[in-house]
């Protein structure tokens, strides 16, 4: 069984648990996103059928909440906090520098599938402002100059 089939099986089990319960739509989608990293169209169809809601409702929820991704994201997701506390301490310059270093725009994934850059909302680590996250690693109290060194270990893939 391929990895994708295994993922789909897990998602089917989760859908079965909530069969016919429209109010659990977001929970099932969050579960699917955790498993696959995004919620592709065929999964949305399964969820719609299982929970007894229309596909347009599923798609509506998927596109309303910024956390749901319809396309796969990069291996490393770089989140640059643009909360107020980070912004006034210069996080825009850090975002600009990361984009420049990786030659990539915010919200986009690099063609090699390695990086996705996201301008994120406040992650609440304002004491460390300005802050970026790379997957689960947090880097704080940065200046734009620190960017190349921080990215270096991830560039190897």
């Amino acid at each position: 069984m391929s990895q994708r089939d295994e993922q789909l099986k897990l998602i089917d089990i989760e859908i079965e648990k909530h069969k016919g319960d429209a109010s659990s739509l977001m929970q099932v989608m969050q579960y699917s996103q955790d498993i696959m990293g995004h919620v592709p169209m065929d999964v949305q169809v399964r969820i719609a059928e299982g929970l007894g809601v229309t596909l347009s409702e599923v798609y509506g929820v998927a596109t309303f909440y910024s956390q749901f991704a319809l396309e796969p994201k990069g291996k490393y997701i770089i989140g640059v906090c643009l909360g107020t506390a980070c912004y006034v301490r210069g996080s825009q310059a850090i975002l600009d520098r990361i984009c420049e270093e990786l030659n990539l725009e915010p919200g986009k994934t690099s063609s090699d599938g390695l990086f996705t850059i996201e301008a994120t909302r406040c992650i609440g680590a304002c004491g460390l402002a300005p802050v970026i996250t790379i997957n689960d690693d947090v880097h704080g109290r940065l200046t734009a100059d620190d960017v190349p060194n921080i990215l270096k270990p991830y560039l190897r893939g």
Partner: protein
């Protein structure tokens, strides 16, 4: 019960965890075991201590020694010197700015803590949030027991009403009134909701309460359930707060195990259970009707009120909804009474308020002060003032719904009504300080950019109006502002405030209106003189190297676009055509020879 001679409290809040407090705890456990101290000394991961700037922070009791900026490599020394030999590790003790390095004081004498009164944060940084016994040892669940055994539901509501506990989420609506409305609604099913969708950028009060004292919220929700006649509650929490989510899960399971949630609580005929729902990154879900739509699994779009949630809320049933900090105030009010609560704060706004202090301030962190405390006390006495001797320009409160308060108003007491009078609002408690380098037009643009992104799109004034305002602001900061732009902004602001469906749109123009009110000259400088007084807006400044340059080449080496040239020991030049104004060179220059003009 086991007794320990020392307790090592390690902050496990998001800020300190981000800078490695997990590894520090591991190191402590390892080092203590190596020295055979694991039965003498206990390591506890607590919630946030508040002074995030000094993180990761550690307190050693019984001495109350406050260590700051601790690194995993320092643990060995703390164990071998302090815990084994009783010698405090001086170099790691927190010292206030301007004090002698040996002046490390106990926690309650440090200025950051001295001016605070902790009610909502009473247990944060004190107890182990993952251990219900510790919460119980600090009077936890006593208020619930008192309500169930000694008070009628109406008496509980009357007490909360009399206390005049106002909604800490920002609006300041009296919680007791809300509870009364929900109690008055007749229905076979009612719900209690905790709004933990803390979306204001730069605000993390609720997260810290959930991380540091989750049981206080559960207890208060159960009390509310008893008061209004509900048996089911939901906590809607941001998915961006993984630590808070985990601790809530643990707390709910423990409370169920102890019979403090579930059927027949404490042997009474009152039953109440709580579910957790995660947000998915939509700011508008902090609005109560949008939040309820989201719990129902739908797009989080607000709907018109009335009907209010107390009449028709979640799944169409009467619902009471309060925010985290409001709930956290309820158990102490029940335990200690109305008079105690009124002894803090002002007549119109009794009690305390938690603020997340951030931005250009020395002591970034969480502070809780009595209502009515002047902004100046929070920023200078507790916050320690502005770093690098810069000049204070403004403090932003209320997030994207609030406004910027200038230095002339720093003595205004902080309470709901006084902040509204000066064009800002309390909001949930974000307080972001700005100095002379921050451009107020750009800050207004920043908030509008946020609202445009987060507008749900349901009503036209918010969806299209805020976009038009942003376009004007974008033009102004790019140096393309025109005569009449200020008036256009004001006209749009009035229309959007008066005609938007929900609070998000109604308050969206506030950052623009308040900056126009206090910093109009900055707008005019951008529009008419094509000049940014704070030298922030990239299109309106360029960099120059002055005669102070010694030709050390540091700037040329750091420039990512090779815009700086010059020979060693000779004055360098910047090619303004190539320069991207990333400012790396200014940071590198040791002679302050690069200036913005």
């Amino acid at each position: 019960m086991e007794l320990f001679r020392s307790h090592v409290l390690v902050c496990g809040g998001t800020g300190c965890t981000s800078s490695g407090s997990d590894v520090i705890i591991e190191q402590f456990e390892k080092q203590l075991a190596e020295h055979g101290l694991e039965n003498e000394i206990k390591v506890i991961r607590t919630g946030c201590f508040g002074l995030c700037e000094a993180g990761p922070v550690i307190i050693v009791y019984p001495e109350g020694t406050f260590y700051s900026h601790v690194k995993p490599a320092d643990v060995k020394e703390i164990v071998e010197e302090h815990l084994l030999k009783g010698r405090v590790v001086r170099r790691l003790v927190y010292v206030e700015k301007g004090e002698h390095p040996d002046a490390g004081k106990p926690l309650d004498e440090i200025s950051f803590y001295k001016h605070q009164t902790r009610v909502a944060l009473r247990n944060c940084g004190v107890i182990d949030p993952e251990n219900i016994d510790e919460y119980i040892a600090f009077d936890g669940y006593m208020a619930l027991a008192k309500c169930l055994t000694e008070m009628s539901p109406q008496e509980v509501i009357d007490l909360v009403t009399e206390a005049n506990l106002r909604g800490r989420g920002g609006g300041g609506f009296p919680a007791g009134n809300k509870w009364q409305f929900a109690a008055n609604s007749k229905s076979d099913k009612k719900y209690v909701i905790c709004n933990a969708d803390e979306g204001d950028p730069g605000a993390f009060m609720d997260r810290s309460v959930l991380e540091g004292d989750p049981h206080s919220v559960l207890e208060a929700m159960a009390i509310c359930g008893y008061a209004i006649g509900s048996d089911e509650g939901y906590i809607y929490v941001r998915a961006e707060y993984p630590i808070a989510v985990e601790r809530l899960k643990t707390a709910i399971n423990q409370a169920r195990e102890y019979g403090l949630l579930g059927k027949n609580i404490l042997g009474s005929d009152f039953s109440f259970d709580i579910h957790l729902r995660l947000g998915a990154g939509a700011f508008v879900c902090g609005e109560e009707t949008a939040l309820m739509a989201s719990i129902e699994g739908k797009r989080g779009e607000p709907r018109p009120k009335p009907p209010f949630p107390a009449v028709s809320g979640l799944f169409g049933k009467p619902t009471n909804i309060n925010n985290v900090e409001t709930y956290a105030n309820v158990p102490p009010i029940i335990n200690k009474g109305v008079e105690w609560f009124h002894s803090m704060g002002t007549e119109r706004s009794p009690g305390t308020k938690v603020f997340a202090l951030g931005g250009k301030i020395n002591n970034t962190g969480l502070v809780e002060v009595p209502m009515g405390t002047p902004l100046r006390t929070v920023i200078y006495d507790i916050g320690g003032g502005i770093p690098k001797n810069k000049k204070f320009k403004a403090v932003q409160t209320g997030g994207p719904s609030g406004g910027c308060i200038p230095s002339s108003l720093l003595d205004v007491p902080i309470e709901y009504d006084s902040l509204v009078e000066i064009g800002s609002m309390m909001g949930s408690g974000g307080m972001v300080v700005m100095d002379e380098d921050n451009c107020m037009v750009d800050i207004a643009r920043f908030f509008l950019d946020f609202t445009v992104e987060e507008s749900c799109g349901k009503c036209t004034p918010c969806r299209i109006g805020t976009k038009r305002m942003l376009e004007i602001l974008d033009r102004i900061v790019e140096g393309k502002g025109e005569d009449g732009d200020i008036e256009r902004l004001e006209r749009l602001a009035r229309t959007i405030s008066s005609s938007s469906l929900c609070g998000l749109g109604q308050t969206a123009p506030n950052p623009v209106l308040s900056t126009l009110r206090y910093f109009r000259d900055e707008y005019e400088a951008h529009i008419y003189d094509k000049r940014c007084p704070a030298h922030h807006c990239k299109s309106l400044v360029h960099l120059e190297i002055t005669d102070d340059c010694r030709g050390c080449t540091a700037c040329a080496r750091v420039c990512p676009v090779d815009a700086i040239s010059g020979e060693v020991r000779h004055k360098h030049e910047i090619d303004t055509e190539k320069c991207t104004k990333c400012l790396s060179c200014i940071e590198k220059c040791r002679f302050n020879a690069i200036i913005k003009v």
